[in-house]
Amino acid sequence: MINQSLNFKPIKIWGIIIAICGLNLCGSIFLADICSAAQTKPTLSITVNGKTIFSGDSISSTPSIEGTVTATATIDTNSIKISVDSTQEITAEAITITPILAPYSYSIHYQYITALAAGTHDLKVEAANTLGQVSTWDAVSVSVAASNTNAIQSRALNYPNPFPPSPTNDPSVGGTYIGYELSNDANVKIMIFDIMSTKLREISCTAGGTGGSAGYSEVYFNGLTNAGKTLGNGIYIYLLVIDGQVKAKGKLTIVQS
């Protein structure tokens, strides 16, 4: 293959010479265009309060926007901005931008101090490279709940279901993840009962912590009671309780392997 590619004929050589001359005539801009075609737009990887969010998710009213901007070309750090509903714009000066591998990779962080108004918002993060190529990350219609509202935004589900218990607390052996979405940070109790209403397990999640922060959370349940007894085959009921009130419930099935 290589030998064939090196087997130039005279007519082809003249053609190359003419082409180089043409490039010289077109000037440096043309050459730059040839080079930029190999560069990509910046890539944005954004989390809100440490979570990956999607359109329609809940976020806290003072979200922490975090993420990374990476590109193969030089990133224009001044171009990085965060906006809510395309109006409330946070410019690069207010954003903590930390180089990871300057000038091609930066981490960004912005903590909202002023609470966002309750309701739905479009959240957008933008960044560009020095070539003017712009990338956008956005989450449409994320909702911010009123500060006094503690609600489970979506149906509580657990995965896997059915599942075997894991007496060793090893998710690869068994147990299940209970997933739910909180409208606000809240102290959440996950209470698990048998179908005769005997309380078997209580998992407490503190506000802002794992399972207690606004947005989507998952909490691991190993299939054991508080005292470490293994639950037998059957359906069990779990309740998500906030401020003493049952906000969501679900059923999980244990089938021992």
Partner: protein, 681 residues
Amino acid sequence: MKNKFEKNKIILGILILAQMVFLCQAAFAASTTDPTRTYFGARPLALGGAFTAVANDANAIFLNPAGIAWFRHPEFVGTSRPLFFEETLYSAAGYASPTNWGIFGIGIIDAHSAGSLPTFRDPVSGRITIDTSTEATDYDNNVLILSYGKTVLEDLSLGLNLKFYNQSLSGGTELHGTNLNADLGLLYHPLYIAWLSLGLNYQNALGGAIKWNNAAGTEDLLGSTIKIGSAFIVLGSKEALFQMEKQKLMLAVDFDLINASVLSDQSSDLKIGLEYSPLSISGLSLRAGYDCNAGVGLGVGFEKSGFRFDYAYYQNSAVSGNNPSYFSLAYTIPPPARKLFEPQETSTPYIRIDKPKDQTITPELSIQIKGIAKQITQKGFWAPSTEAFITYEATNSGTLEKIIQMIPVEIFQTISYEVRPIENLIDVRLNGNSMPYNKLGIFETMLKLNPALNRITIEAITTAEGTVTKESVRVLRYIPFSDTSENHWAIRSIAFISTFKIITGYPDDTFKPDNPITRAELVTLLMKAKGGAFTGSLEVAFKDVKPNHWAAPYIYQANLKGIVKGYPDNTFRPTQNLTRAEGVAILARFAEIEAGRDLDLVPFPDLPEGFWANEFISKAKSAGMLKYLAKKSFDPKVPFTRCEAAEVLFLTPFIQDKENKLWETGVVFAPTISASLEVKP
């Protein structure tokens, strides 16, 4: 006493068995939900679950099978409602009915929870998502219970539940598991502590596990619970700890010992319940209870014509927001109308007075009355039969011809007997006045005694028939002597002789039972016993009994009647102590005993043949007057003591007749003696 011993053995045996099996269970596997561990019948629920020693309706099938042993009629109870945020459909129904072989019951509890959603993790979002391609899983957990209860003693019943556990997962997951288990129950209503009941239920006595039909043969432990209960009738009209007419308050307390295999993080539980019935509002009950592990219960019950509606407000303390209202319906089926061949019962009420026994004698001012009003229930059926009716008719030939007619009749074919509390018992009366008794018909009180005879009559009163049975005992209250205990061998004789004023004792309230009796003393008391009018005049026959001797009238009257004779030297020796031979001889003559054919020539081995008193001793012995010397030597020369004199005199037919009249009529024999007898010098 034997009953008590048997009862103790039964209770101890069950407790030891329970303890052994209970401790041998180990939590080495997963544990499963037992629908019989938490029962949602409204009445027990309102009592906080404290029902082990109450167990007096069909709920007992689920909570203590020994309770059904006391059922008189078939009973049904049932409840159904969504449980726990309506995630479980719960149903329970029980029925128990008396049979000829004990009380049988059947019960079922079913708990069903549907719609556990299968899920997958969305590959794009990474979030948990419903897997619509797979069917949701349903779970059914039910137990079929066959109950048996029987009273083994008057105040003790035992019960057995055979339990068939059946669990299944269906839909997205198909699994099936079963187990056979047993409950052992005991219910004890102490005969003489009417306000107390004690109960024990050893739930899942076999321990056991649900065995699933998966490839691994998974087993999920059920575990045992020992429920120990007590119930106290605190307020009530008769049987209660504190009597308060027209109100009834029951306190029930249960303590559960929960085996480590049970699907619960608790190792014990305490339950307390109160049930208050204002008897002025017929059929109404108000309830309150507390279960330390579960929550608070409140409730009300209405009963009318055999139907009972129970409501419980029960709040699970673990979480709020659950629907707290529970309902149950119960029905007691009335006895069927009498029909041929159908099993029937005929009942014969009776009263047994354990204390005091009839014809008791006592020096006490009051006496304990204790006994039981019961009925013997004869089970059987009426069957058609024929009865021969025989008549004689004169024939033309003048002879009598026997004519047999078979008359159709109904006869009662008995199958079994059983002793039970009297039905509809509303009162037990002591000499016409109400007295305390409990639901088992056991009565107990103290009664103040009158001097001499007391007739004690106990009556059982029912709503339907008034007095259905009565029983009497008789008690003699005698005036005691300070030196003669109730346990003195001759106390019965001394009591009667003193009651009849034949011997009145000494001024210092002593009887001096072992003192020898003089000839004058014995003759005097015998003549006093005879009573009657001593009139006329008697010649002095004994030179040592002057007319002014205090006993002269009695000695000479006795001499005249041939009861005593003097010595050959014309003396009577009134102050000489009597020997036993002399005393018995005098009493035998006094008793005027006819000589029987089989009179012993030698009545006691130590008496020589031809002894002058043998005839009298034989007569006294044959008349039963010398029982106190049975299997003993006679010792004719020993002093004849005062208590011996009382004993032999009491056993003379003359005094025996007076005793019988006293018991029968209450008339106390009181001999009177005329003082007009004159002894001439």
